[in-house]
């Protein structure tokens, strides 16, 4: 029954499947470490998907497409930053607005792009390395973004842990009053974090429409942005755990697709709802008991900051 599933192919596909949620999750992780809860990940992702797709199709260059995707996500996140940091609007409501608006706008922009094939993103040429049995397939047969996403996780980890900038960002997220008293520009730092989160979500979205699917479909993200938000909780706001979480979810998504293809006697519907159910299960496990993830949440998460003077 499971004989038709090749483990090397599964692992290699898992790494590809996890890239979009990993990119979105690592971006949101930085945003939340700065004390901002941006629930608009889904909207920024889908805007990245369509902006990246349009740029790539019009220019013929996948690289420009990814830049366009990141820019699309970042521009939408700027709107969120304006609302929450300048206009002092409720972060939960603003994030929802961002998602609703992004879903509508993306399907509006994508009208003329249904059914078009984007230019292909090639894989990194590793030469003979790719021919190593098993490891060649698993490690050395991917497009640049699989490696880039892991590099971004490493960079974010190093930034948060070792640099002065990372310390300031965490300070803003843990106690914005103290950070303000020390003379740091709370709003400006949060704005930068939000922009980074938007660009990462946009990049993840562009990966969906340019590599993973690859074409434009309305509602292409199908909840990937929300799963990315769940992964941040799963990761207890730590970068490497986000990588683990993304691989776990990528693995489940890929496994259920493979099981569908292998015609396992489980109804397709149960398989396709499994990633969402497992997300809930993971949230329950992570949020309860002694290792409560919420204890690691940045103390000022979701609170707006307004300097009295």
């Amino acid at each position: 029954m499971f004989g038709s599933i090749d483990p090397a192919l599964l692992i290699s596909a898992l790494m590809v499947a996890s890239v979009p949620i990993l990119l979105a999750a690592i971006g949101e992780l930085v945003v939340e470490r700065a004390g901002v809860l941006n629930l608009g990940v889904e909207g920024m992702m889908i805007m990245g998907a369509i902006c990246g797709f349009i740029t790539a199709v019009e220019s013929g260059s996948p690289a420009l497409g990814f830049i366009g995707g990141a820019a699309g996500g970042a521009i939408l996140s700027l709107l969120f930053a304006l609302l929450t940091q300048v206009m002092q609007a409720n972060q939960v409501a603003s994030g929802l607005a961002l998602t609703l608006f992004g879903l509508g706008l993306s399907s509006l922009l994508g009208q003329g792009y249904v059914g078009i094939k984007p230019p292909l993103t090639g894989s990194v040429p590793f030469g003979p390395l790719a021919d190593i049995p098993f490891f060649g397939k698993v490690l050395f047969s991917h497009d640049p973004f699989v490696y880039l996403s892991v590099a971004i996780v490493a960079a974010v980890w190093a930034f948060l842990k070792f640099t002065r900038g990372g310390l300031i960002l965490r300070a803003v997220g843990e106690s914005h009053d103290a950070a303000h008293a020390l003379g740091y520009k709370v709003q400006r730092i949060r704005l930068l974090a939000i922009l980074f989160g938007g660009a990462m979500a946009g990049l993840g979205g562009a990966y969906l429409s340019l590599v993973r699917v690859p074409q434009w479909v309305d509602g292409i993200t199908a909840g990937a942005g929300w799963i990315a938000l769940a992964i941040v909780v799963f990761a207890s706001w730590r970068p490497w755990r986000a990588l683990l979480g993304a691989w776990l979810f990528g693995g489940i998504t890929q496994l259920q697709l493979n099981l569908q293809a292998a015609q396992v006697p489980i109804p397709v519907e149960y398989l396709s709802m499994s990633p969402y159910l497992i997300t809930i299960l993971v949230l329950v496990v992570m949020s309860s008991g002694r290792g409560r993830a919420s204890l690691n949440a940045p103390a000022c998460l979701g609170q707006n900051f307004h300097a009295a003077r």
């Binding site: 206009m87 399907s107 396709s272 709802m273």
Partner: protein, 360 residues
């Protein structure tokens, strides 16, 4: 430079005026969007906001207003209770689907009965279906401290899969030649939800929505539970000292929202939609979030906001058939409305002052 000064209490005037201001700003920004799409902005705005009420086909479209506003108001009133208490149920779409599926299943199980009592039973079943679906995030939140936003949203996707299973599997019309979709309730009079007054568009869902608005108003203004909801939202710690049990509030608010959304789904499936089909849900559960905010989380405000939002739905459809405006444009338009509303709220909570240069 402009400086923001926090108001000691939110301004009553601005809290009433911001929705109007936001709608006006959305119309302006929407016109720009329509102009960019190559449509005449004045004509587009007129088609969306004026023609459904006073245009050539207004006699028909005015009725559609209540058809669309009914579920929006019903869901939004339920959501607003939770939003007031700081409980974010954003999975109303899933609760709406489950209410429709469970309620329709009960009705179809006894097909073709002629007993009129089946319809009230189906309403209860629909409400229970939505309630049960909302209880999942509620109980997970109270027992395991799980984030209700993420869980309720994940369950929307699960509910959509169940809807697909229902329409292609266990609720499929046995006489439907294998096509997906359940039996049509319009040919099942005992369980149907027809128009009550011909041409008005009012069905039992609209009646339920009006009753809910009144009930929610009384609850919030006159009942201790309504006071506790408001208190828990504005001052959670004070609420706890006053003996408000947050867990009970979560269960109550999520449960009411779920039951109302489930009822809305049942009224829709037996009335305007007619049957369970794969594309049965059209996003009322998400639009209701905008309605709740546009109505200032106030039952009467929500009634007005629901009517306005229904107008944009109908006008949007008109604009897409008459002017070739993409149907997604109206979705972006509705999202924009929420943006402007949240931005304008600045005026409710802050005063804008010209900052004086500080003496050093």
């Amino acid at each position: 430079m402009l400086r923001l000064e926090k108001r000691p209490t939110p301004s009553v005037f601005w809290s009433r005026a911001t929705p109007v201001l936001a709608v006006a700003l959305t119309m302006i920004a929407g016109s720009v969007m329509f102009a960019v799409l190559g449509k005449n902005p004045f004509e587009a705005i007129r088609t969306i906001f004026w023609d459904p009420l006073f245009g050539e086909f207004a006699w028909y479209l005015r009725g559609q207003l209540l058809v669309k506003a009914g579920p929006l108001v019903l869901i939004a009133v339920g959501l607003s209770l939770g939003f007031r208490a700081g409980i974010w149920n954003i999975g109303a779409e899933g609760q709406y689907i489950m209410g429709a599926v469970i309620g329709a299943a009960v009705g179809l199980a006894v097909y073709p009965t002629e007993n009129r009592l089946i319809f009230p039973v189906m309403i209860v079943a629909g409400a229970l279906g939505g309630w049960a679906w909302a209880m999942i995030p509620a109980i997970l939140k109270t027992r395991f401290n799980t984030n209700e936003i993420l869980v309720s949203l994940m369950l929307v996707y699960v509910a959509q899969t169940i809807l697909a299973m229902a329409s292609t599997g266990f609720l499929r019309n046995p006489e439907g030649a294998g096509f997906p979709g359940s039996r049509n309730f319009s040919s099942y009079p005992a369980a149907a939800n027809p128009e009550l007054i011909a041409g008005s568009g009012l069905h039992w869902g609209g009646v339920a929505a009006l009753a809910t608005v009144v009930a929610a108003y009384v609850l919030l203004q006159r009942h201790i539970l309504g006071f506790q909801i408001k208190l828990a939202g504005q001052a959670p710690r004070a609420a706890r000292y006053a003996g408000v049990k947050p867990e009970r509030l979560v269960l109550f608010c999520m449960g009411v929202a779920g039951a109302l959304a489930g009822m809305a789904g049942l009224f829709e499936v037996t009335g305007p939609a007619g049957q369970i089909s794969i594309d049965f849900n059209v996003g009322y559960g998400f639009t209701a979030i905008i309605v709740a905010f546009l109505g200032r989380l106030n039952p009467i405000g929500i009634l007005l906001a629901g009517l306005l939002m229904a107008l944009t739905y109908i006008g949007g459809e008109m604009a897409s058939t008459n002017l070739g405006l993409p149907s997604a444009a109206i979705q972006a338009f509705q999202g924009m409305l929420l943006f402007f509303l949240l931005a304008c709220d600045l005026l409710t909570n802050f005063r804008i002052r010209l900052a004086q240069v500080e003496a050093r």
